[in-house]
């Protein structure tokens, strides 16, 4: 499994007829078992890029090549659950073939076991995010997209959820693409960090983290963060 992204541009016309460039050159490849992190300022076009990669927007210049039959699991920024279906039904709807044992294990890891029969309206944002994660993992994806899965959660909750995501990502050899604003999350979860410029977005710098995720200790993480803080992104 491999994802080859070779986008040369993306623009859209506003209601007033003015052309806005959202993406410039964005070129990278992602291999199975690898976690790529898109890191960039708000409004730089990350969500547009994700929508293109998810096949939701075909109107761009360039091409995105992936292995045919690739299964996509996506966690949107808002959970996007069906409010009229229970937690379990929401997951099973996306993943009709998931077996009971696997589903139970997934709910166990994400601490959702006691919420199976709740409706999304009864859940907090943190819980709803975890249901969205469960849904994306239940389909056993080949390509996983996580759009700011830790945004607007308090630190303790975000930390726990980050550990749960790390566990789940490590449990399957797939391509993962994570969008985040937080260097700490990027360094703890990612293998390769793509630094994006302000709009129209292009890749300014790619940082590959040599130490495997599993063996990355606190000193390693602090060292990587220190190095990253010395990058002069503004002048690239």
């Amino acid at each position: 499994m491999q994802l080859e992204v070779n986008i040369t541009g993306k623009s859209f016309e506003s209601a007033a007829g003015k052309r806005h460039d959202v993406l410039d050159n964005v070129t990278f490849t992602l291999n199975a078992g690898e976690v790529g992190v898109l890191f960039g300022p708000s409004g730089c076009g990350k969500s547009t890029l994700l929508r293109i990669l998810a096949g939701l927007d075909g109107n761009y210049r360039g091409q995105v090549m992936c292995t045919p039959g690739m299964r996509l699991g996506m966690v949107f920024q808002e959970p996007r659950l069906l409010p009229w279906r229970t937690v379990e039904e929401n997951v099973r709807l996306a993943a009709p073939d998931v077996d009971d044992g696997r589903l139970s294990a997934l709910f166990e890891v994400l601490e959702l076991s006691s919420h199976r029969n709740h409706f999304p309206g009864e859940l907090s944002l943190g819980l709803a995010r975890r249901v969205a994660l469960a849904r994306a993992f239940a389909i056993e994806p080949d390509f996983l997209i996580l759009d700011e899965p830790l945004a607007s959660l308090d630190n303790a909750l975000a930390g726990r959820l980050r550990d749960q995501i790390a566990t789940l990502v490590a449990s399957r050899k797939m391509m993962t693409l994570l969008v985040t604003h937080d260097v700490d999350d990027a360094v703890r979860l990612g293998d390769r960090l793509f630094f994006l410029s302000p709009r129209p977005a292009r890749i300014l710098h790619v940082e590959t983290i040599a130490t495997p995720r599993a063996t990355r200790g606190e000193p390693d993480i602090n060292e990587i963060k220190r190095q990253l803080s010395q990058l002069d992104l503004a002048n690239m």
Binding site: L82, R85, G121
Partner: protein
């Protein structure tokens, strides 16, 4: 309990009013009841109610099915909306009487003409309601369905239909009350049976007890259908809302 009290109050008001106005114009409840029992014994009541109910069921189903499909299409496809909109406005504002009379002239005094005329009267309101529903569909959930590659049928059933459900219920509710009203006019003008026909006969003979007997039994049937079928259906559809905190 409250319903029973409300019903008793209705009977009492009626009785007192009949005493004040006089039996000739407003017969007292027992007089109407005796006519009702006689009609029921001869079987005419049930034949007429049955004929009316069958027309309501057919016209309602036809108009709901067709109206929902057209409304959904017009809400989703802007070309369909631009093509259909003038027709919709025309139909919405066309008086029921015009449709019924024209239907009888063009298709004869037939069952098909009656049912088609009733359905055409109800159709535009269903179209308008469902068009609003289709316009209000959440694009974020559509994207979710696309990203997870949900097959079309599953997406329609689990993602689209539940969003349309309140609109379908609203169209059914308002449409049913419209059909109840129009069916009697259609029967009055051109059918040899049904509640509307009997009311027409009673009107010509100035037989007020017969008129009231049919009107009230019709109202009773409407009430029973509303409470036993429409309301439980609505409750079921909005189950997930009630439980939400």
């Amino acid at each position: 309990m409250l319903r029973l009290l409300s019903f008793t109050l209705f009977i009492a008001t009626w009785w007192i009013a009949s005493l004040v106005i006089g039996d000739a114009k407003l017969p007292a409840p027992p007089a109407v009841l005796s006519v009702l029992v006689a009609e029921a014994r001869s079987g005419a009541l049930f034949i007429n109610l049955g004929a009316t109910l069958a027309r309501v069921a057919l016209a309602f189903t036809l108009a709901m099915a067709l109206g929902s499909a057209i409304g959904y299409l017009m809400g989703r496809v802007s070309l369909a909306n631009r093509l259909g909109d003038p027709w919709l406005i025309l139909l919405l504002n066309l008086p029921a009487l015009v449709v019924i009379v024209l239907a009888y002239i063009w298709a004869g005094l037939t069952e098909v003409a009656a049912i088609a005329a009733i359905a055409i009267n109800k159709l535009p309101t269903a179209v308008v309601t469902l068009r609003e529903g289709a316009r209000a569909l959440d694009p974020a959930l559509d994207e979710m369905a696309t990203a997870f590659a949900l097959p079309r049928g599953r997406a329609f059933r689990h993602v689209i239909l539940p969003q349309l459900a309140p609109y379908i219920a609203a169209a059914a509710r308002s449409g049913l009350s419209l059909v109840w009203k129009i069916v009697l006019v259609a029967e009055y003008l051109g059918r040899p049976n049904g509640v509307g026909f009997e009311i027409g006969v009673a009107f010509q003979l100035f037989d007020i007890p017969l008129l009231l007997a049919y009107s009230l039994s019709f109202a009773g049937v409407v009430l029973v259908i509303e409470t036993l079928m429409v309301q439980p259906f609505e409750t079921r559809l909005t189950r997930w809302r009630l439980r939400a905190a």
